[in-house]
């Protein structure tokens, strides 16, 4: 599903060059649930940005679903992001001026679906996350856990094959964090590949595999469970 080979990412200012990722190589297979951990500043977010086509690598090769995406232009990257990748952000990143229905509608509009198809998908994912009754509520009217469920619904509406989660439980209390984690595991069981960046070692352990990033490189690769094995909550 995801294959990075010797990926490098550096940021240059007038006086200094920072290497966020250096010769970073990683392979994530279809259907895997991989957690990514590491200390602050280790390059987790940079990895996530490159994996999600939010940033381009300075060097190396990145294959997404078998396609080399290292040198795609902005339009093609946007299209691929929209079609293949779902994002779940730490701060939920819902659009405050739009109600839940319209928030979930955002990526579907960019996808070019007609109104009927969009409505069908939105209603389906709202039901999946248990928020059908709140479709016309604004994000501010929901709890943090509910907002994150909306964000997950938004990520799922386009039926992506690859879900990137950036600290999805970072802003939630333990009960809500557990609910969100269960939802992610459920989504993964249905075949969606998930890469989740987290600081929480308990959550990291619940993934099939945990990757540790230190100083922009994969430090330790531990197979927590065999690929395809059922994950217990």
């Amino acid at each position: 599903m995801l294959k990075m080979h010797n990926v490098r990412k550096s940021y240059r200012t007038d006086t200094i060059e920072t290497h966020a990722l250096r010769d970073f190589s990683l392979e994530v297979n279809e259907g895997e649930f991989v957690s990514v951990t590491g200390p602050s500043g280790s390059g987790k977010t940079t990895f996530l940005n490159i994996a999600g086509l939010l940033e381009t690598p300075t060097g190396g090769q990145y294959l997404l679903d078998g396609q080399d995406v290292s040198d795609l232009n902005d339009r093609d990257r946007s299209r691929l992001r929209n079609e293949k990748i779902g994002f779940i952000f730490q701060g939920f990143n819902l659009i405050p001026d739009l109600d839940l229905f319209d928030n979930i509608d955002v990526p579907l509009r960019y996808r070019g679906f007609n109104a009927k198809e969009r409505k069908k998908r939105i209603e389906k994912v709202l039901e999946q996350v248990g928020l059908s009754a709140r479709a016309r509520h604004l994000p501010a009217q929901l709890s943090g856990g509910q907002q994150q469920r909306v964000a997950i619904a938004r990520a799922l509406a386009g039926e992506p094959r690859f879900l990137l989660a950036d600290e999805p439980t970072g802003n939630l209390d333990s009960l809500m964090a557990r609910q969100v984690m269960e939802l992610l595991e459920f989504i993964n069981e249905w075949g969606t590949t998930i890469v989740m960046v987290t600081h929480d070692p308990d959550l990291a352990r619940r993934a099939h595999r945990n990757i540790q990033i230190v100083d922009g490189q994969v430090a330790d690769l531990r197979l927590q469970s065999a690929l395809g094995e059922a994950v217990t909550a």
Binding site: D74, R81, L98, V106, Y110, G112
Partner: protein
Amino acid sequence: MLELRPILSALWRNKIAALLIAVQLALTLAIVGNSSIIVGDRLDKIARPTGIAVEDIIAVTYYPAEAGTDIVSMARADLDMLRAMPGVIDAVHSNHIPLSGSGSASDFYREPNQQIDDEVANVYHTGPEFLQTLGLKLVEGRNFTPADMETWNPNDRYHPKVTIVTKQFADIMFPEGNALGKFIYGGGDNPIEIIGIVERHLGAWTSWAKAGSVAFYPSFPKFTFGRYLIRTEPGKRDQVFKAIEERLAQLEPNRVIDMQTLSERLNKSYARENLMVKVLSAVIGMLTFIIALGIVGLTFFWINQRRKQIGVRRALGATRTNISRYFLVENCLIAGSGIAIGMAAAQIGNHFMVANYSQPALPLSVMLVCALMLLCVSLVAALVPALRAANISPATATRSV
């Protein structure tokens, strides 16, 4: 895909700022619309054909130093000299300078001893050379001949026998279009035959409601001053101007001479109109600039406020074009509502101006042109921030600050 519903939804939740810009646009349109029509009216007025070869004419007024000077003999000598000068096409005496804002007018009637229903015309006392000197076009009848010429003392009552009139005045007096050969009256029973009709002569007062109604008499009033109009060959006016001054002074040193070009006099006559055009154009320009600044400022403000949101949209698959289009459509909706309110306000304002200040009515076509212009200004103003917004990185979505 214009995202109208989400944009409207977002605007509704930020309605104060949007409303302020819309109201500003509405006011701007109302003012610009009404100012444009006034500017257009004044420009039309300035651009009216005068019927006169304005650019080639020099006007001379002189005052003899000694009382009792034979002004007629002096004029004959002066005009002979002037006509013989190189670069001069013709010269003629005239009691007033056309288009100068100074002149005289008389009441005219269709019947002898008529008391009511008079028509007013600007009147000139001049000679047969006036046609060529002023560049007037005789469309019917004949010019004055030396036999028509009369001299008269301003203390006596002058009874003209013949006149040449402008077509405008001829048509007012005789709407059937058969003025030539007809008689008109100056309030008594003295008939004045219309022997010729000239196409156009705007007369003395450019702002007069009856500008263009002019009658010419073949006469030389013995005033205490004299006045000549001199037509020069095209492009030689300024050169001849200096020579005339010297030659007139040589011919009769004991007089005060005042010389002006007709274009100078015309510019003075249109000074108010020109000032109005300049002031209102500046107002239009300034208001348009201010509204453009307002839109640029608001769009930049909104973009900065929504940087994270733009990053999220990009992360969710929006292309740069999607982002720019979002802000341009948003701007169009604000501008559109402002323009709709502005068009109504402009019409209300115009009704008031027409009723109270005799201003021209505001046609829909002018209103639409102004609206389109403002829409373009608002779009151009929003374009730079919108393009800037498109450059916000999708990675902004994952940044915590």
